[in-house]
């Protein structure tokens, strides 16, 4: 007959689908009762309306049923008390009761394995968000744990481009990011009553939102890359990011035209002032090639990205061609990187992602 220990050992492999930690480690298993071939597991959910309760029940049943001599598995779900939830949050914050700001599990800690990369452009409309989602998808395909923080509070577009909608689960003050294709995402779009609402705020509210996204969102201690989709310009939001994160990198996106690369240079200037290292430049909308046999057409001029990279003294990570499938992917919420990974644009994104991860490698996982 199986023992309580064996059941708990089996349950260690069951992860809370949102928190990405074992339900045993999180003290969510309250009781295990064994009689003959029958096992009853009492588990506690963090909140009563947990959208993924069925997933948890199914995984518990599957794991326990796989033990020898078990015929029936019953799962009773309860809800954590206020104190139990607080204990769980403390645990997730690495044993500290205050906010995530100083917990060792947070990327705000000095030894965090998470590499934070702010994607900036200076100018609007050059494709920051498109680059962000496709780089995230490419990094994810390369086997990394990736998150996107949509810092464009007024002009958020990540939810649409990644096809992720809904409301994040709140466990007291802790926000669980939504997830799509393995990419964890938080955006102002998830917090509004509907995505057509306009955000009409001055600086202080922006600051509060961003520090919440950084400090109160449970990104997970296994997160390797957090890409921050900045709004255009060098204003409140960019400054809040620079003042809140103890270490972060900047990736500058531009189009080939002078008018864009000249403004993008100011983002790099800001990075210098706030001691953020610029790791590279990505040139978007570089050229258009109707078919592989046609010569490329340089609609927005040529070489703006390379010139900017040389001026800042950083590598050019890639030149992304103009491609209808990139735009369609964005509008349909399926990044081109995932739908047509062998298209020229997707290959360019992939190569850029590879350059990014060699520029800021994550520490080897234990």
């Amino acid at each position: 007959m199986v023992t309580r220990e064996q059941v708990l050992e089996a349950l260690k492999d069951v992860q809370d689908p949102e928190l990405h930690r074992s339900i045993v480690d999180l003290d969510m298993v309250k009781e295990v009762a064994i009689s003959d071939g029958r096992v009853r597991v009492d588990a506690l959910l963090t909140i009563s309306g947990c959208p993924l309760r069925e997933t948890i029940v199914e995984s518990i049943k599957a794991k326990v049923a796989a033990l020898p001599g078990i015929n029936t598995v019953d799962v009773n779900l309860g809800v954590m008390s206020q104190e139990q939830r607080q204990g769980l949050i403390t645990k997730l914050h690495g044993g500290q009761t205050a906010s995530a700001f100083k917990g060792p599990g947070s990327f705000l800690g000095p030894n965090s394995p998470t590499r934070v990369i702010a994607i900036a452009s200076g100018k609007g409309g050059v494709g920051k968000s498109t680059v962000t989602v496709n780089l995230a998808a490419a990094l994810s395909r390369l086997g990394h744990k990736v998150g996107i923080l949509d810092a464009d509070v007024y002009g958020f577009s990540i939810p649409k481009m990644l096809g992720v909608h809904g409301r994040p689960t709140l466990i007291d003050q802790m926000i669980i990011p939504l997830e799509r294709d393995g990419i964890r995402v938080i955006s102002m779009g998830f917090l509004l009553p509907d995505e057509d609402q306009a955000v009409i705020w001055r600086g202080p509210l922006l600051h509060k939102t961003l520090t919440t996204f950084i400090g109160e969102v449970h990104w997970g201690e296994d997160l390797e890359y957090l890409l921050i989709d900045l709004p255009p310009g060098t204003g409140d939001i960019s400054l809040t990011i620079a003042q809140t994160l103890p270490q972060s990198y900047m990736l500058v996106v531009t189009t080939p035209q002078d008018a864009a690369s000249q403004v993008a240079r100011r983002s790099a200037k800001m990075a210098e002032k706030v001691n953020m290292e610029v790791i590279g430049v990505i040139e978007n909308m570089s050229y258009f090639q109707p078919t592989p046999k046609d010569p490329p057409v340089y609609i927005f001029g040529k070489g703006g990205g390379a010139k900017l990279a040389a001026e800042i003294g950083v590598p050019l990570f890639g030149e992304i061609p103009l491609d209808q499938s990139v735009r369609e992917g964005g509008d349909q919420g399926r990044p081109v990187m995932l739908t047509t990974p062998n298209s020229p644009a997707a290959l360019a994104f992939r190569s850029a992602a590879e350059k990014l991860r060699s520029a800021v490698p994550v520490p080897a996982r234990a």
Binding site: P246, S248, K273
Partner: protein, 120 residues
Amino acid sequence: MSPRMPTPVETGSVTDREFTITWSDGHRSRYTWQRLRMGCPCARCKGEWNYRPDPLTDREVPPTIRATSLTRVGAYALRFVWMDGHDTGIYPFPLLRLELCECEECVARRAAAAPGAPSA
């Protein structure tokens, strides 16, 4: 700030008689609290394009002034909360290192570089 700009590896405590910073290149800076407060770079103390206040002097800032706490701002600055309630000054590392450091070496260097300084 260029990536080669040294950054603080250790900062003294607000309870110390003088404030100190040890930099990543080994330099040790020291500061009297009064001069550090007078060197506040915020718009209220230093002014902005349409507001030019008189510089702070030891008449406004008593020699007994102390900071009550300090925090690091991102990767580029320190911010002090002063016992007079003032807390809007964000001191970027280059300011602390190149303009406000009161160690003998830095004081001598600035004196030599000042316009009108006797040439050696």
